[in-house]
Symmetry: C2
């Protein structure tokens, strides 16, 4: 095995390693559980940018003081279906699962409920929380903002974060309908990947330091909003995430958020987020909604496709990848392996590979 080789490790072993690393650094049980399950959502479904590669990062933030190892998140329920979760600088997944639990409980009574999250931090894959709610029978919407990385339409500086937008709905089958998208044209890790592969980027997805479009991944300093010529649409959906997560909660706007990567790992980032849950029984009813989703997905998946293509529902690619990875194990890139080795040495843990 060379230093540049991706290796595979069993899902359960990786999960146990992450929980034990968080626990060893002094994080409480809820933080260890929630940080791990959000990253496992990413790693299992093939969203490696938001997978277990973040373990070392989160632990640096916990050790540095940016994140609270033993937070006491508290719900301020303001109206029947709305409120704010004061997250007490919890790791983002800890805050967001907690907020979604409250939103679902409130939605049983009010049909729809939303919780704005205050004083949270990077929450990883938005889809983890939307899927969590859909698996319990709710329709869900989850958004957050993040430090500036995406130019505006016609703009030439980093403004919005990659501001994720996720919606899920129970499908009447084992897996929900799940949209989980960045509002940038491509994820930044695509730029990093193309750099290492020496491949040029598609036209119009990234810009250089002056905001001029470039296809050279080495010159890419910011991302374009999704939509190409119609990037005003992508920028505006990024704006929806910004308004719901930061404005409605009184938290920092994207350009005001400290960079995720540091160097400052001790100052809390004061980030907002927003989760919404709808109970189908507050509308036409769970039975009719599930039948409707089955009818919709049958029509969609059987819709004629371009040669050598298949029309997929949002999430279908991820469920297939998860099935493969549960058998083959999770791919761990060299940087993630190194991070795991350092954590294992620091805390005296057994590696999962």
């Amino acid at each position: 095995m060379t230093a540049n080789e991706v290796i595979r490790a069993p899902v359960a072993a990786v999960e146990a390693f992450c929980v034990s690393a968080f626990t060893a650094c002094g994080a409480d049980a809820e933080t260890a559980r929630d940080a791990t399950r959000s990253m496992m959502h990413g790693s299992v479904h093939g969203v490696d940018s938001h997978g277990v590669r973040l373990t070392a990062h989160y632990i640096r933030a916990l050790e540095g003081g940016r994140l609270n190892k033993r937070p006491k998140p508290e719900l301020r329920r303001i109206k029947t279906g709305s409120g704010l979760l004061e997250a007490d600088h919890a790791q983002g997944a800890r805050a967001t699962y907690c907020a979604m639990d409250h939103a679902m409980e409130m939605a049983r009574e009010s049909g729809i409920a939303a919780v704005g999250i205050r004083n949270s931090s990077h929450f990883g894959p938005a889809g983890a929380y939307a899927k969590y709610a859909a698996d319990k029978g709710f329709l869900a919407l989850v958004v957050a903002n993040s430090d500036s990385f995406v130019r505006l339409h016609d703009g030439t500086e980093r403004f919005h974060g990659t501001n994720p937008f996720s919606v899920a709905a129970p499908s009447g089958g084992p897996d929900p309908w799940l949209l989980d998208m960045a509002t940038s044209a491509v994820p930044y890790n695509r730029v990093e990947l193309y750099r290492s592969l020496g491949v040029t980027l598609p036209v119009g997805v990234a810009s250089d330091a002056k905001g001029v479009n470039t296809t050279d991944p080495h010159l890419a300093e910011m991302l374009a909003p999704v939509g190409g010529e119609f990037g005003f649409k992508g920028a505006a959906i990024g704006g929806v995430a910004e308004i719901f997560s930061a404005v409605l909660t009184g938290m920092r706007l994207s350009p005001e958020i400290l960079p995720m990567g540091g160097p400052d790992m001790s100052t809390p980032r004061e980030m907002g987020a927003f989760v919404l849950a709808m109970d189908p029984d507050g509308f036409i009813g769970a039975g009719i909604v599930e039948a409707g989703m089955r009818r919709y997905l049958d029509l969609l998946r059987n819709s004629p496709a371009r040669p050598d293509c298949r029309v997929m529902a949002p999430g279908d690619r991820e469920w297939a990848e998860a099935a493969r990875r549960r058998v083959d194990g999770l791919p761990l890139d060299p940087v993630t392996q190194d991070g795991f080795r350092t954590l294992a040495a620091t805390y005296g843990l057994k590696l999962p590979f």
Copy 2:
């Protein structure tokens, strides 16, 4: 004046003409008021595809029996913050303003509320209803599906409608923040415009009858979802509109909806829609939200732009156009003029031009 000339007519005169035409055809006062104000939203803000050109169409649908001239929309409030509006085959704007009124009233109590609309029809510009709520201090989301016109990502047949997605927020200024987008790459009227101008379409926005991308507007038989290479994102946002408006209400999916243009103008189209309102006082509070929106919009509008460009917030282009049109009058294309002339002759009305 030739038959092909666009003429301008004063806003108030056009508005009065539309109300009188609906009234003359036997529609009740609420239908005349709401159908007119939704179209005026389109015409005043430069969204002519959803402006007063639709007057003749809606009146044909009212006369034909597709739409109920004197509907009795009824709210079934199911939980504190959720319910269904049985629209009784009302004209779509009549149903949607009514649903938003209920949603805002419920949101005062529950912080957030959503109303699914049943047995409605084409509702015109989604932004009209989101702006209506934002003008009253609410954040709002409005979606609907419509008859099939947009292919799926990798798909080769019409599937979703142009499924509009609109979000608005009070801005702390006279005009709200307003996103109002079709989830197709371009509106179909852009295809029609380019046909008449003999101009080729941008790459990847439309397909021919076999679903193959074409830049020839004469061959365009369906639209692509917004996002270009990343059209799976646009198709999925179209899916959000589909699920919230049709599945959650038990109404027809896009491929099941009778074509807007007929020939059948007598059968109700049984369309759904979905409106959501949030009261800022259910979250961090209206004062902080307005201050946050002002800070956000100041940062955004002052963000550096490409040469000869200016960064605009969603809606800015429309507010500027509205200011011009309130002075210069509304442009009426020849087809709309003819429609007005026919209505004037049929019902003995005075033309606004």
